[in-house]
């Protein structure tokens, strides 16, 4: 008797003789990527993010006008063929400023995610695997800051450190790693009791080796998902900071800052486009990161439901 196996997305029909039912071997990663690819929203989001990254690279070398050039066009000029997004209160080209603003958002988002990944995972692994006083101490710190909106320490720290993109990243990362550490600690606590870890321990593996070859890979799915979601959260917090006036040093453009200027112009009685364009830009970016993160979660961390 021959069994026919159809693999789900290649439509390759494989004939097996001998009657044993064989299934195509799929690794966790291929399986996850396959599920991600089938998620249309996630794919669209991914395409958008790639385009956004390209736009950021372009803005490093070329923008239609100098984004900081005062008087590139008439003050409050309405969007036109020459100035697609119009001009702001100082006659700076809005399109150029929105383009350059991407740099700040992406830099903050990606750098914070990186810090969260490194610090949060390390601290979480150590706390969850070693337990004891070090876990008690780390948990205490996390519990203390659990009850504080991240934006408050971020504001205080940022004002202390001074205005720069780098300090926004530090101010946000200072509390952002804690969510990741909490998650990884929980994972490590459960994984350290599994048989394979016990086997590794009894056969004399070093703690560091157990952490990185046994515990970490088995918690990787939730870690990647959490790291992805830390990007939009960081971008949002940075936008709040800059919108509230704790921005990057002028004349550097960022979306929160432009939106804040736009709101002031609006309240002074001018047209709303200065407010609208950076608002649309930041909303679409956050939307793309969230849809992409959702797709990743469905693909790699199916137990989680939120």
């Amino acid at each position: 008797m021959a069994t026919t196996v159809i693999s789900p997305d290649t439509d390759v029909v494989t004939e097996y003789a001998g009657g044993t039912l064989a299934r195509e071997q799929v690794s966790l990663w291929r399986d996850g990527l396959r599920r991600l690819r089938r998620n249309k929203l996630a794919v669209i989001a991914m395409v958008f993010l790639v385009l956004l990254a390209l736009e950021t690279v372009v803005s490093l070398f070329w923008t239609p006008y100098d984004p900081n050039l005062v008087g590139a066009c008439p003050t409050y000029a309405f969007p036109s063929a020459q100035h697609l997004m119009g001009c702001d209160d100082l006659g700076r080209d809005e399109l150029s400023r929105v383009m350059v603003g991407t740099q700040v958002s992406l830099a903050v988002g990606l750098a914070t995610a990186f810090v969260v990944l490194v610090v949060g995972v390390l601290v979480g692994l150590i706390a969850g695997y070693l337990r004891g006083w070090i876990d008690a101490l780390i948990s205490l710190i996390i519990n203390i800051f659990y009850g504080v909106p991240p934006i408050l320490p971020a504001i205080a720290l940022y004002v202390l450190l001074g205005r720069s993109v780098q300090n926004i990243i530090i101010a946000i990362s200072a509390t952002a790693w804690m969510d990741m550490a909490r998650l990884v600690r929980g994972q490590a606590l459960s994984i350290r009791e599994r048989e394979y870890v016990e086997a590794a321990r009894s056969s004399g593996s070093k703690t560091r080796k157990i952490l990185f070859t046994h515990v970490f890979p088995n918690a990787l799915g939730p870690i990647i998902v959490q790291a992805t979601f830390s990007i939009p959260i960081a971008i949002l917090t940075a936008a709040f900071l800059t919108f509230l006036g704790f921005g990057v040093p002028p004349p550097q453009a960022d979306w929160g800052g432009i939106a804040s200027e736009g709101l002031q112009s609006l309240q002074a009685g001018f047209d709303p486009y200065i407010l609208l364009f950076p608002s649309i830009a930041i909303s679409l970016t956050l939307l793309a990161f969230n849809f992409f993160g959702d797709g990743l979660r469905d693909a790699f961390d199916p137990r989680q439901k939120r």
């Binding site: 659990y146 909106p149 936008a239 006036g245 609006l266 956050l286 939307l287 439901k305 939120r306």
Partner: protein
Amino acid sequence: MTRGTLVYIVQRAVLIAFTVLVVSFGVFYVVHSLPGNAFISDRLHGRALQLLLHQYGLDQPIIIQYWNWLKGAIHGDLGISLVTRGAAVTPIVMQELSVSAMVGGAALVFTVGLGLLFGVLAAIRQNTWVDYLFTTFAVIGYSVPSFVIGSLGILVFAQWLNTVTSGAVYYPLPWQGTYGGGGISTLISISLPAISIGLYTSGQITRITRASMLEVTQQDYIRTARAKGLRARVITIRHALRNALVPVMSIMPSTVLGILTGVLVIENIYGIPGLGKEFVESIFTHDYNLTVGVFTIYTVLIGVANLAVDLLYAVVDPRIRY
């Protein structure tokens, strides 16, 4: 209330107190380390400045200043404002707290109401256009920053509508807080800020409600209820939703944090004289005691809110005991 509950409350109260201690010292240290001080605009120099700093105790080592502040704070005295010379911080902060609490409370009601409604509707119409509409709306809700929604609210309600109806529709924008009183005009002025804040957090509630409703409705007792011939509405609300609330409660702490952040931002957009506006202003003006006072109130507020959430947990799910 059992003995265990009391012990639990006391334990949590100790953690809150410890949090306040650590966080207030941190903020105290940070704001006092900022370059410049509250009197810089007075064009005071030399001896006059020294005298003024001495009068407010600002020339002492930071640990001693903090100790003095802490002694007062334990008795409910958060010090005096440095910008509004001599005004006590505690009454200012308490008044602002009442304003922020009203905005935040309205946002919470809106968040929970809309989130539960959309979540339940999406779940009982799973994989139909209703489901897709509400789940997409939820992601959009927590992707669009509250300052964008707030600004758009100003654009539409305070400017556009006003112009279109040539002044007939007037949205009272800067809500100054009602100290007592209230009524329909307060409700209207508070609704726009509350919606701007609540859309973000309601998205999360929609998603978790939908997920947990889908899980609950697959269970046997729902089938039993249906077999008994109960009406769909009764099953959904009394049998399914009640049990689906447990996971929803678990994200309430993050909802509370989201609303507080939202209140902070929205107050600054709409010019609402609450804690968030004061916090930002006091940092700019170096009004140390106000900054630390507002931060402390925030910390206490969140601690108490999270404790309330955890106690409500036991109400929603009687299996949980403390």
